[in-house]
């Protein structure tokens, strides 16, 4: 998401320096594996060359059709399924195949490379870590399954299918785990939460990929390479469906982002206010361990937190709600929540907006404390109202101090501390 680039904008760094250590470790170990595999295969030669070429081509096509799922996750379902299918292949037609795991690695790597070339040619730089991750999960299955394929268990389909199913699930688990480790590092969230997020986002696509991988292996083994063409149809349909989903999801977010600017164009709030509050809020939400669905709601609420100001006859001077009277603040929040509630689909977002100016500590007999997202937006809004787009560190520090002083009654201390950490990271440091 948008926040993660902030740290890198301060200074120019070499391309590899923008990678975290986890990504570097993954990429270098996969690269080493590929070098070993290619060397070995060139020495020994390809076993069942026609199958290797067909599967390699399918992997290349899948890589060409890779797409981005919500949350900036790159996936290539067709390539993954084809790689898995090649790793799980026990025969072509009635002819048994016994190639090595290293050949699987080579074919997958070459296919992925060829499929990436058009992307590079049009100037889209590849996500090397995502490619390495896909290759790693295929390689793992290959190393586990190739010995089984060589053992001649061919005719016991029940046992074969069971082993394949376990390995397909294993490859999904590996993919999710690697992605979560890298994500927890790049956007700074706890590993447990990253794992859950990743599993939630990928579970269904993984199941489709795994099933198709097995399907390809079984059908090619019983009916020969002609089957390969026909049996990729289900994953094609799934790919189309998920691509549409990702597009609509992205447009939705873009639209809310764009329309959050109506209050700015109307002169109600300072330019860029909604977006800065959203960025800060997401950073704080991550610090405080919010999972992705909650973060999305938080982002929507933060973007639209000032929408209630549209109902005011005259803009508040400077648009800073932190300077308005509490009654006025509450009215804006209520009006905004009413607008959002009318959509009929963003009820939780409306609730967050409604409670955004409630003080953290409430007196006896009053309502419960506001939800975490509201507390986050309250702090982020106050900070941005007072700091604006200034990059002055002293000013930021002074504002933080003021929020800390208020944090016994107005602001949640834990949230203010989270803001401190986010601001610390985001401010460029010059030595």
């Amino acid at each position: 998401m948008a926040v993660q680039q902030q740290g890198a904008t301060g200074r120019r760094r070499a391309a590899w320096q923008t990678l975290d250590s986890g990504q570097l470790l993954l990429i270098s170990s996969v690269a080493l594996l590929v070098v070993v595999a290619v060397t070995q295969v060139t020495a020994v030669g390809l076993d069942h060359a026609s199958a290797a070429v067909v599967f390699g081509a399918l992997i290349a096509i899948g890589e060409l059709a890779r797409m981005e799922m919500p949350g900036g996750r790159e996936v290539a379902p067709i390539a993954s399924a084809a790689g898995l299918g090649y790793a799980l292949l026990v025969g072509v037609g009635d002819d048994g195949v016994t190639y090595s795991a290293l050949q699987v690695v080579t074919v997958a790597a070459v296919g992925m490379l060829i499929g990436s070339l058009p992307h590079i040619a049009v100037g889209r730089s590849p996500h090397i870590d995502a490619m390495a991750r896909r290759l790693a999960s295929v390689s793992l299955v290959a190393f586990c399954f190739r010995p089984v394929a060589a053992s001649g268990l061919h005719d016991v389909w029940g046992a074969m299918l069971a082993i394949m199913a376990v390995l397909a699930m294993l490859s999904c688990a590996v993919d999710v785990t690697i992605a979560a480790v890298i994500r927890s590092e790049t956007v700074r969230i706890r590993l447990g939460i990253a794992l859950l997020d990743e599993a939630r986002a990928k579970m269904r696509l993984c199941a489709a990929t795994g099933a198709t991988g097995m399907l390809i292996a079984v059908s090619t083994s019983t009916m020969g390479l002609a089957a390969l063409v026909v049996f990729t149809a289900p994953i094609l349909v799934a790919q189309v469906a998920f691509r549409k989903y990702a597009t609509v999801h992205a447009t939705y977010l873009q639209t809310v982002r764009a329309l959050s600017r109506v209050a700015e164009v109307g002169g109600y709030v300072e330019t860029g206010h909604a977006r800065r509050v959203a960025q800060l809020s997401i950073g704080m939400g991550r610090e405080l361990g919010q999972a992705e669905p909650e973060l999305l709601e938080l982002e929507y609420a933060a973007l639209m937190h000032d929408i209630g100001q549209l109902s005011l006859r005259d803009p508040i001077p400077g648009g800073a709600t932190v300077l308005a009277s509490p009654a006025e603040q509450r009215r804006i929040a209520e009006l905004g929540a009413d607008v959002i509630k009318q959509t009929g689909v963003l009820d939780r977002v409306a609730e967050i907006v409604r409670r955004q100016c409630d003080p953290y500590r409430v007196g006896v007999g009053k309502n419960t404390a506001p939800p975490l997202a509201s507390r986050i937006i309250k702090v982020a809004n106050a900070y941005d109202d007072l700091v604006g787009d200034s990059t002055d560190r002293d000013r930021a520090a002074a504002v933080l101090e003021r929020l800390r002083l208020d944090s016994t009654s107005e602001y949640d201390p834990a949230v203010v501390e989270a803001l401190g950490r986010v601001v610390d990271r985001a401010t460029p440091v010059d030595f």
């Binding site: 037609g93 199941a207 019983t222 009916m223 999801h249 982002r257 764009a258 164009v265 002169g267």
Partner: protein, 454 residues
Amino acid sequence: MRELPLAAWAFVCGVIAAAAVIVVLAAHDSEARPHWPALLVLALLFLACESAPALLNNQRAVVSLSFSVGLASVVLVGPAGAALVGTVAVFSLHRSVSPRLVDRLLKRAYNGAQYTVCGYAAGQVYQLFGVRPGMPDARSFPHTIGPFIAAAVTYVTLNLALIGCTLVLSKQAAIGDLRVRPVAQLALSCLGFGMVGLLIAGLWRVPYTAVLAVLPLFIARWAFAQTRAQQQAYEATIATLCQAVETKDFYTRGHSERVSRGSVMIAQEIGMRPERVEAIRYAGMLHDVGKLGVPTKVLQKAGQLAPEEYAAIQLHPMRGLEIVREIGFLDEALAGIMHHHERMDGRGYPMGLAGDEIPEFARIIAVADAFDCMTSDRAYRGRRPIEEAVAELRKSSGTHFDPDVVQAFLRALDRDSWTTPAPAPLPDSDVVETTEQDHDDPTAPLKIAGDGAR
């Protein structure tokens, strides 16, 4: 359900009779006796798929996976078997909504009969190519693909033709309503799902693997459902945010939504592609978003506007563009928002484009915009009747509006009705803000100081 016309009765009964003949023949044809266990499993699978349809909701069309099972049985158990498998659609758990028992029974019988006829015909076509029904193996599999495609085409075409005939004969649709594009799309997606039948047939030798072919499809179904839900949420959100912009003025409530509807009517009348119609829907919805950038006191000012105030109003399309530019829209929609106040004679704003220089989207939105403004209440005047607004559009076509667009709009108006807003109750002037003049109103141009001509 209304009473069926005689022709429809005859047609439905004819299809059912044909199916009955096929079933009797199939049951007594000792030569092509199908493989009973496989037939049983296929019948159960078919029933399951038929009972849980709606695999792919392509807006209007509902495609169920039963197509693929029907076609799998063509390969595995031959025409007689496929006909028998199709018959079980009679027992589908999918509830029909008709209130009358006779209608429900008739629908069931017809549904089963239709699948029976299709299965039998597809099976015959499959055999025409000299392929014997049965489980394909490694050597024969490549040779079944061609005949299978022919069988699938037969199955789908026959099915759609039967459905089309009943729709037309029972007067639920006129022949003119059946457009080529949607029908072709429907046929293609049916064919796609029919192809799954080949997968099921090909994997019949290895138990349980048919599940593997169906699982990704069910996941795809989930994704399609999510996409639809997300799309609806998206539309609701855009509509609401536009309304939030409209709360500035009591009288313009619902304006954006009506302009959007009017623009879509015109676009469809002109015969735009569905993607462009979709884009103009959003463009119409968002066309006045930039009005927020105009100070309220200018928008609501009674009497003459100072030149700089008029300039502020003229800027609102640009402001709108500024807001929506980052949305992944078609460029056309953006151009439509930016130029919706241009005039054909070049005296519009913000750029003073004339004639064909004005983007098509903008010419369309301009007509819908002005029409809705004229037919709704304003603080300074009541609504005009539709006839009067139409006359005004006619009068200004060529100078203000594009004549072709106006013609298209009038044709669309004749066909579909236009819902004018509910009469606005007299606003409580303490609470609600009203406008004393409206920049959209072609009959009452803005009064600008020092410009008597306008």
